[in-house]
Amino acid sequence: MESIKKAVALGLIASMSLSLAACSGSSSDSSSKASDSSSSSSSSSSSSAASSGGEIRLVNGKIEIDQQLKKYAEEYSKKTGVKVTIESLGGGVDITGTLKGYLLSDNMPDIFVFGGEGDFQTWKDEIITLNDEPWVSDTDVAFKSSDGNVYGFPYAVEGYGIAYNKDILDKAGVDPSKLTNINAYKEAFEKINSKKDELGLTAVCSVAAESGQMYWSTGNHLFGAYLAQGLKRDDTTYIDMLKEGKIDKERMTQFAKFIKMLFDYSDKNTLLSGTYDDQLALWANGKTAFLTQGNWVDPSLPTYKATFNCGIAPLAFDTKDTDGVLADSPSWWAIYKGSKNIQAAKDFLTSLATTDEGAKCLVTDCGMISPFHSTKIEPTTPLAKNLMGWVKEGKTYSWQWAKMPVGIAQNATGAVFESLAKGDIDESKFVDMMEKAIADYVAQNKTN
């Protein structure tokens, strides 16, 4: 009896130790695959893979282009022998938070995405300058810090304004190229509104201003017009004022008038409680003429079988003409300072920027607009094509909103937009509240 017990105990010990050994063994090769979303891959493994040389890992923040990038990475490694692993985060994942976890667990990718001034402040000690890269002189939208150093590689240009359904505008007799000031918009809105029934519209505009989920559309994108519309690309007047907690009341009043008009002509349910999908569906199904989004809606259009002609018109809130859309790189790729393959990472970015294959990946496959002047390939999707026209004519304003204090849209200004949408406040109250919200938020951020 006793011996049986002993045998069982021994067997158990043996199996346990084996499983333990197996665990620790398997962890060492798990992350050479650089698993997609799992941040659990052990620290020991990742850097051992990196140290073997000729291997880089890129964390991409745009999940829509995951497959395309992977395809390019494969071609690239066939050509150069450098293995590139693409890891895409997105779909509601907190990218900065995940990357912070990677950094603390010694699992940092060689190239990773960051989203603007706020993120840059977080990462500035962890990334290298890219001043001497060949693509720097070929683009307007590389990420430059305030001291003029280049830190971010732009992989796309995205642009927005007020997207329009050209077929509806034609039927209503509105010329979209004339939409360059608030009065032109007013006239166009009135005209379309009067023909609503015969055009089959439920409303003129498709806007969503609910502050819980759509704050990015109102508080960032629309607000971006206040900060940059009509200004030179490097003019930082209004964003500098905002960073000090101040606004230009006159400009804000004019902006408020335009937003109020936009809201007044919008579908009420979508405006107050709609999601991005609701907002998009309304426009893509031909139920509204205008949509306050940008060229990123292109990939969704086939889902709605939307075949109408469309384009982007300026967010021209002023009485004088401001003929340009807001276009910039939505986020940038930076190279991690602690990477063991800095040169390989730089080479990969250069190939993406300068080779035809790279341009094909970014423009044709991903459906984006290349941020590089030398790129010859043209986009094929409707809004991107239209945006390309604006970019070529040089009629673009920069995304100054990306330099706002982190979280201001979600935690402060988004709610002001929603209040205006609900009719709780009028334009003048909107200006007052915006001033107070910004001042308070900036003050609170400074003390912390």
Binding site: S44, G212, G407, N411, K436
Partner: protein, 345 residues
């Protein structure tokens, strides 16, 4: 004999620990050695065996600790250490990666002087109180029905319990659709409940109650079913009405169950996050004191947004520490009261 065993044991412990430490170095030093895992286990086994065979006087209690060690170690690593580090971070300017200086109680001062946190605190308390009452009333009524002689009670019990099995985020998005689309379509011309600050809190209350009542119902049900038959029979022979039996016999006899349920709902409501996040994520806006603020951002969501969306990890951590203290006070009070009750019974 004893001394030889002693020497052997000491040798085993020493070599075992040495192997263990070497293999740890290999692991942390990112070596490519394929045997490092096996080496680690071997070292541990050798050292453990040495301790096991060592002729201690208090062999048993030392063995207890040795065998508990993996559990204690894991507990310390996953609960105690992060907790202490968390409190530590609340006194620094940590940004999620590193901190550069200590700020003392600055975070605590900033927190209590920030209106959004105080507002979140107030609505969380209001929500907690109402939700606690609503869940318990609904759950107890359902439990009474479930314990009665109605046909198909088994089916109803299961049906009421099911919402609790679905994840809060999924439920939240489903209900958001119901509030935003279904209700608006049914009552033509009406606005979604989620666009009004007060109705939006009510909406979260409805979903929260709907989700949690089934679970609490199960606990009440067990309480009701454990009531001794003879007491109930005696009361009915004496001619007590249903209402009287309920208030004079059933409820006093399952007072303990009430304490448990109230405690559970209290803590659960106070920690409400997933439904809040999925249904409203802070919206709609409310005008308060000349400022437009997010009206349904409960404490947990406020903490999350402070750290993640505002990128103020230290301040978020500070709020979380206070959140913990409040929860700890509630729990300890509750436990103390329930202990007292148990003694009385």
């Amino acid at each position: 004999m004893k001394s030889l065993q002693k020497k052997l044991c000491i040798a085993a412990i020493l070599t075992g620990s040495a192997i263990f430490i070497i293999s740890l170095f290999l692991l942390l030093g990112k070596s490519e050695n394929p045997y490092k895992g096996l080496l680690l286990v071997l070292g541990l086994l050798l050292a453990g065996g040495g301790i096991f065979k060592f002729p201690f006087k208090k062999h048993k209690s030392i063995m207890n600790i040795v065998f508990l060690f993996p559990m204690l170690f894991t507990f310390a690593l996953t609960v105690l250490v992060p907790f202490v580090i968390g409190i530590f971070y609340s006194f620094t300017d940590w940004n999620g990666i590193k901190f550069s200086n200590f700020v003392g109680f600055e975070n605590y001062v900033a927190m209590f002087s920030s209106p959004d946190y105080l507002y979140s605190f107030v609505i969380t308390v209001i929500f907690t109180v109402i939700n606690m009452i609503a869940v318990n009333v609904v759950a107890f009524s359902l439990a009474l029905l479930g314990a009665s002689n109605l046909k198909g009670t088994g089916f109803y019990r299961a049906a009421y319990f099911i919402p609790n099995l679905i994840g809060g985020i999924v439920l939240g998005y489903v209900w958001q659709f119901i509030f935003n689309k279904a209700f608006v379509a049914v009552f033509e011309g009406s606005r979604s409940m989620l666009t009004d600050p007060n109705l939006a809190i009510l909406a979260i209350l409805i979903v929260s109650t709907w989700q949690y009542a089934g679970y609490i119902m199960m606990i009440y049900l067990t309480g009701l079913q454990s009531l001794p038959r003879d007491v109930l029979e005696a009361s009915s022979v004496d001619g007590a009405s249903g209402i009287k039996t309920l208030f004079k016999i059933k409820i006093p006899m399952i007072a303990n169950t009430f304490t448990v349920c109230i405690f559970l709902t209290l803590v659960n409501s106070f920690k409400q996050f997933d439904l809040n996040f999925a249904i409203t994520n802070g919206a709609p806006s409310r005008i308060l004191g000349g400022k437009a603020i997010q009206s349904t951002s409960f404490l947990a969501l406020n903490i999350y947004n402070t750290a993640i969306s505002k990128n103020q990890y230290a301040l978020g951590q500070t709020k979380a520490v206070i959140f913990f203290i409040i929860l700890a006070i509630i729990s300890l009070t509750q436990v103390a009261i329930s202990k007292k009750k148990e003694v009385e019974l």
